[in-house]
Amino acid sequence: MPRAAIEIENLTKDYPFGFLHLKKKRSLEGLTMQVEDGEVFGFLGPNGAGKSTTIKLLVGLIFPDAGSARILGRPTTDIEMHRDIGYLPEQPYFYDYLTAAEVLDYFARFHDLTAADRGERVARMLKKVGLETARKIQLRKYSKGMLQRVGLAQAILHDPKVVILDEPMSGLDPIGRREVRDIILELKRDGKTVLFSTHILSDAEMLCDRVGVIVGGKLRGVGAPGDIVGMKAQGMEILFELPSGGPNATAILAKSTKTGDRYRMQVSEEELFLALEQLRGVGAKVLSVAQVKASLEEYFMHLIEADRAQAAAVEVSGK
């Protein structure tokens, strides 16, 4: 049986706080999960859920209080493991006195590449992330989105087998987000394993084979995006326009919301065809029909509220 690319077992992390660092706050509790070889895995959760903590534990920036993690069969403390991983930190920041080409060349030096190989890879990566025209500008003049692209380029520069991206879409405009999505899909096509954290549901849905949801430092479920986050359609939304002076549409308008010149109507999946017939009957122009899904925020809120309710129940029964 092939070994998982990333194996996490009972990973626990406490952060000390207070004047003498005597108090501890649990950031991650007994996290156990696996990311299979060649899959794109989305790590979902609200801010402060423990996503970045998990990723930092995986790349060896912090150390666990309990548990262990292995990447490609090697413990995260093994320096050789770092040859095969690429990492994009959250809101990356690089040496601002260097140009994009210089910073990539600097990072490439740690992978024992020849000068010619470094030059070729740096040029290819800059082109890939759309920075070839800005290659000679110091990073202190870069926008947040451009820095994110540099971060992505340095993460995949050495052709790693496992790519770990912490909020890769953060700070990017729609075009940038699309480019990052394309790069992730390209990595998947090349057989790489990708783990990325996000709190944007559509990104996960579009890219991931599986997702893991983490809330309050605890893993709440792992599975296909539609199954785990309850992203199945909760209804259908029809966007339409009504002709002026058309037949009486009072019944339809009662169920609709007007936005500008357009109307939105939400119906169940079973009622969809009937509603479309009614719209045709009043001469409406249907602009779009889309599934309505629960937002990730709603899902997270649901989990957090369930946690609070459980905590309250424990407290009451304790009395």
């Binding site: 040496y95 260097l98 990072f107 740690f110 971060g151 993460a155």
Partner: protein
């Protein structure tokens, strides 16, 4: 070692691009002013004044760079999170520390060498010639460099676990205490208390002895410096720095980067 070299070169490049070497302009102006004015006010002792002033300036400027940049070597990388992407590469934490140390020592070496050239140029302007005895200045400058290496190691250690402000206080405190090591060893002349005497004696062996590196007076007067002292100071600075770097590596190897 190649990875530590890459970090060192980048640290040097940072210092150059952050205009750290601009201090050389100040030094050059100081030497020019001294060379022009000292002859007019101190007939016969121009040479000594130029040597003392030059060596003192090399030492003070070097110390300022070593302390103020040294304390930010690691802290700045953690604070700005530039370290995150780097430590995910196949580089060990001690290699990173060694590289940062090497980079600042390289910066100080280039800076000190440039100032040494300036000092000899000023001396040549005043004396119109150089003689063999002036070579002692090179040894004095070498000792300044050894001292700076030790200061960088201390600053780097503090940079691994505390803020720059506290690191400046700790590094400066140790430097000042290290100038009085001989006095601590001879404390028995001034106190009858054997416990205090023992404490100060132990402390005098624990603290870095910066007094050993001060041969400015001898160099200014053109007195010879024994070869044994050169060997002793070299061995002392290298081994003390190595021990401090080992402690820094031990501290930093388990440090959580939040």
């Amino acid at each position: 070692m190649r990875r530590a070299g890459a970090v060192a070169l980048n640290t040097f490049r940072e210092a150059v691009r952050d205009r750290v070497l601009y201090n050389l302009v100040f030094f050059a102006l100081l030497m020019m002013a001294a060379a022009i004015f000292v002859g007019g006010i101190s007939i016969g002792i121009e040479e000594m004044v130029i040597k003392s002033l030059g060596l003192s300036a090399i030492s003070v400027i070097g110390l300022l760079i070593a302390v103020f940049i040294g304390v930010g070597l690691v802290y700045k990388e953690m604070d700005k999170r530039t370290l995150y992407a780097l430590l995910a590469k196949p580089v060990r934490r001690w290699e990173f520390l060694l590289g940062k140390f090497g980079g600042l020592v390289l910066t100080l070496t280039v800076n000190t060498a440039a100032m040494a050239v300036g000092l000899f140029a000023a001396l040549l302007y005043v004396k119109h010639h150089l003689e063999r005895a002036d070579g002692v200045l090179l040894i004095a400058i070498y000792f300044v460099l050894l001292k700076l290496m030790l200061v960088v190691a201390l600053a780097l250690l503090f940079s691994c676990y505390t803020t720059p402000l506290l690191a400046i206080l700790f590094t400066s405190g140790l430097y000042i205490a290290g100038l009085f090591v001989e006095e601590m060893r001879n404390f028995h002349f001034t106190t009858p208390n054997p416990a205090m005497e023992g404490l100060f004696r132990a402390l005098s062996y624990f603290l870095p002895n910066f007094e050993n590196f001060n041969v400015m007076a001898a160099a200014a007067h053109g007195r010879e410096i024994p070869g044994a002292l050169i060997l002793q100071n070299s061995a002392y600075a290298v081994s003390y720095s190595a021990i401090v770097l080992l402690v820094a590596a031990a501290v930093f190897s388990r440090r959580n980067l939040k």
